[in-house]
Each structure stands twice: as structure tokens, then as C-alpha cells.
């Protein structure tokens, strides 16, 4: 009986001990991924921002500018691209919609970001674009890979359509989470005019004819939770100018927009709560279960060996001695 129990324990010990690395190095890279049907909204605000009044062509200070960012997973497009890419792909159709204090549109930039669902590496396929212009991303955007490392990453800037390093600047604590702080500076760069201009009748082509150009610089800051790779907070010190041409009435440059854009408080709280729950799920597969199973395997193996040893040490029943009856004699 003891023998059977020790064999069963041995089988269970091997089962759990094998499950530990299989879960961490085989199941995790295949199962943990960004879902293709994700839908996310984000609201950012810039208080006391500078905004160009297109009526007077003069910059003025406004109490608030709001940026509404939507990311919507396009499952059908992802399936189509997966057939040729041969890996799990996520397609995010996004819109950055900027609204002035009067509720009117300041800018709207749509984009399509295609990336590997597991590693977040960009995937290049037809349809990858920013504001209708085909682009080739060579870096991440919006989200870092799962198990983010303490190093610089390449990050795609949708305004300038360039990929540039985003620097790891250290580990910080943010609302109960240990996060990695990343910062990227895009120096003054000439950027295309948006396809949809905020004033009716003005098109990028008509502005281009005046010889006026659009320039942009930004300092982008992200606080990234490293297990999920999800930013829990973000800020951007953003400046845009019009330079040269006949549109500015002899002036060298005019500010189109300048402001310190920060995530709205309710969205920050919501994001932190969401990331905390997702973090637990990723940790379950990468840490809690593999370590738990390994310990359980060692425990069961010890128990199995103990039972086996006891089974061997215990002496069996003493042999019964049968003696020949002595012959009756004198």
C-alpha cells in the first residue's frame, strides 16, 4: 500500500515539477497577448494652453484643451494580416481628437498601428498609416512589451512619422505600483499639415501654396508598469508652430498649439485599477504558478521518497519456526 502511495506521489511530483517550466517558457509566450478586440479610450487635458486663433492668426491662451484618444482593435483586419504574417497580430485603429475650450475640433489624426500580439513588435502590412499617409513603424507605440526591461526602447512618433529612442530614466513609485519612467524628446521637426484642418475651406494644399510650413517638438513622458507593459500615466509637453510663407503676415513664426498635456484624473485612476488586475493575471503565469508548482513538486517528491524509505526499513513479520516433533524416547 505504501509503495503504491509513494509511486502516485512521485507521478504527481514530476507532473507539477514539469508543469512549472512548461508554463513559464512554453505556455506564457503563447497565451499572454494583447487581445485583438481591445477598445480603449483616454482623455488628456492641457490647462492654460496656447492655441492659434485662425480668424486673427494670433496665438491666445485658452483655459483648456482636451485630447480624446480612442484605440479600437480591428479583429477582421487582424485575421486577414495573420494569414500572411504567420503570427498573432493586433490591428489598432486609433483616433486622436483634439478639442478646444469651445468644443470645436482643433485636430483629428486617425492612424492604424499593426503589431505582434505577444511581443508588441510592429508588423508591416498594407493599411499601416498615420492620417492617411502610409508609414513604416520601427518601434513600439502606445504600449510596451510584457515584462518590460530597464532599457531604452524605440518609440514611434505619429506627428513626425519617425521612430526615435525613448529613454529609460529609472524606476518610480506611482499609486502603489512600481513603474518604469520613460522619456522621449522629439526636437523641432517639420511635419505635414493634418488632412482635416480646423477651419472650413482651408486644406493642407491651400496652406502649402502660401509657403507656410508646420513644425513640432515634444517631450513625451510615460510611467510604464513593467509586468504588463502598460503605461499607467502619461504627459506630453507639446509645441507646434507655423513658420514662414505669406500666411503669417510677415511674421517669422506663430504658435499653433503649446501646452502641457496630462492624463485626466478619472482616467488615471481607471487605468491604474485596470493595470493592477491585468498585472496579477500575467504574474500568475510568469511567477505565481511556476514557483508554486515547483515547490509543490519538491514537496511531493520528498514525501514520496520518505514513504519509500519507510516502506523499505520496516521489518516484515518474524518467520514462524516449525520444529519437528522429537521422537518419544526413553
Amino acid at each position: 500500500m505504501r509503495r503504491t502511495a509513494s509511486l502516485v506521489l512521485l507521478a504527481l511530483a514530476v507532473f507539477f515539477a514539469a508543469l512549472s517550466p512548461l508554463l513559464r517558457w512554453y505556455a506564457y509566450p503563447r497565451l499572454v497577448k494583447v487581445p485583438a478586440d481591445e477598445y480603449q479610450t483616454m482623455v488628456l487635458q492641457a490647462r492654460d494652453a496656447t492655441l492659434l486663433d485662425y480668424g486673427t492668426m494670433k496665438a491666445r491662451t485658452v483655459p483648456e484643451i482636451t485630447v480624446v484618444q480612442t484605440l479600437k482593435g480591428n479583429v477582421e483586419a487582424a485575421r486577414r494580416i495573420e494569414r500572411t504574417a504567420g503570427r498573432d497580430v493586433v490591428v489598432w485603429d486609433g483616433l486622436s481628437y483634439v478639442q478646444g475650450p469651445d468644443g470645436k475640433m482643433v485636430s483629428r489624426i486617425p492612424e492604424r498601428y499593426i503589431f505582434d500580439a505577444h511581443t508588441q513588435e510592429p508588423v508591416h502590412a498594407t493599411g499601416e498609416m498615420v492620417d492617411g499617409d502610409p508609414v513604416t513603424r520601427n518601434g513600439i507605440e502606445f504600449k510596451w512589451p510584457f515584462l518590460t526591461q530597464e532599457r531604452d526602447y524605440e518609440y514611434f512618433d505619429a506627428q513626425a512619422r519617425v521612430t526615435a529612442p525613448i529613454h529609460y530614466e529609472g524606476t518610480r513609485h506611482f499609486r502603489g505600483l512600481s513603474v518604469y519612467y520613460f522619456e522621449q524628446t522629439i526636437p523641432w521637426t517639420r511635419v505635414p499639415f493634418p488632412k482635416v484642418m480646423p477651419v472650413a475651406g482651408i486644406t493642407p494644399e491651400s496652406v502649402a501654396k502660401t509657403g507656410t510650413t508646420r513644425w513640432y517638438t515634444t517631450v513625451r513622458k510615460f510611467w510604464v508598469e513593467p509586468v504588463t507593459g502598460a503605461p499607467v500615466y502619461g504627459e506630453e509637453i507639446h509645441k507646434e508652430e507655423l513658420r514662414g510663407g505669406s500666411l503669417l503676415g510677415g511674421r517669422d513664426r506663430v504658435t499653433v498649439f503649446a501646452g502641457h498635456v496630462k492624463m485626466r484624473e478619472d482616467y488615471t485612476r481607471h487605468t491604474v485599477d485596470l493595470v493592477k488586475s491585468q498585472r496579477r493575471l500575467v504574474l500568475l503565469v510568469t511567477s505565481y504558478l511556476p514557483w508554486g508548482f515547483l515547490c509543490l513538486g519538491v514537496l511531493l517528491l520528498s514525501l514520496s521518497l520518505y514513504l519509500e524509505a519507510r516502506g523499505r526499513r520496516t521489518p516484515g513479520p518474524a518467520p514462524v519456526r516449525t520444529e519437528e516433533p522429537e521422537p518419544l524416547g526413553s
Partner: protein, 44 residues
């Protein structure tokens, strides 16, 4: 010999479980019907 068989059974069961789970994968879902926003939402 019996110990080897027991260990092999444990290993096979672990492999079978992990391979089954990964082969099943995760559900794909459907594209959300919600729009790309052009208004400021009141809350998340």
C-alpha cells in the same frame, strides 16, 4: 522500473495539459461596435 513508469506518467500528463491549453488558445472576440470618439466622454 515502477518508479520510472510513474515519473513518465507525470511528465506525459504535464505535457498533455500544457499542449492542450496552448492549442486551445485564447478567444479572439469581435471588433467593438463602439465608435472612435469625437466628443469628450464624461467618465472612463
Amino acid at each position: 522500473m515502477r518508479a520510472l513508469i510513474a515519473a513518465a506518467a507525470g511528465l506525459t500528463a504535464a505535457l498533455a495539459l500544457v499542449l492542450t491549453i496552448t492549442a486551445m488558445g485564447t478567444p479572439e472576440g469581435r471588433t467593438s461596435p463602439r465608435p472612435l470618439l469625437t466628443t469628450v466622454p464624461a467618465h472612463p
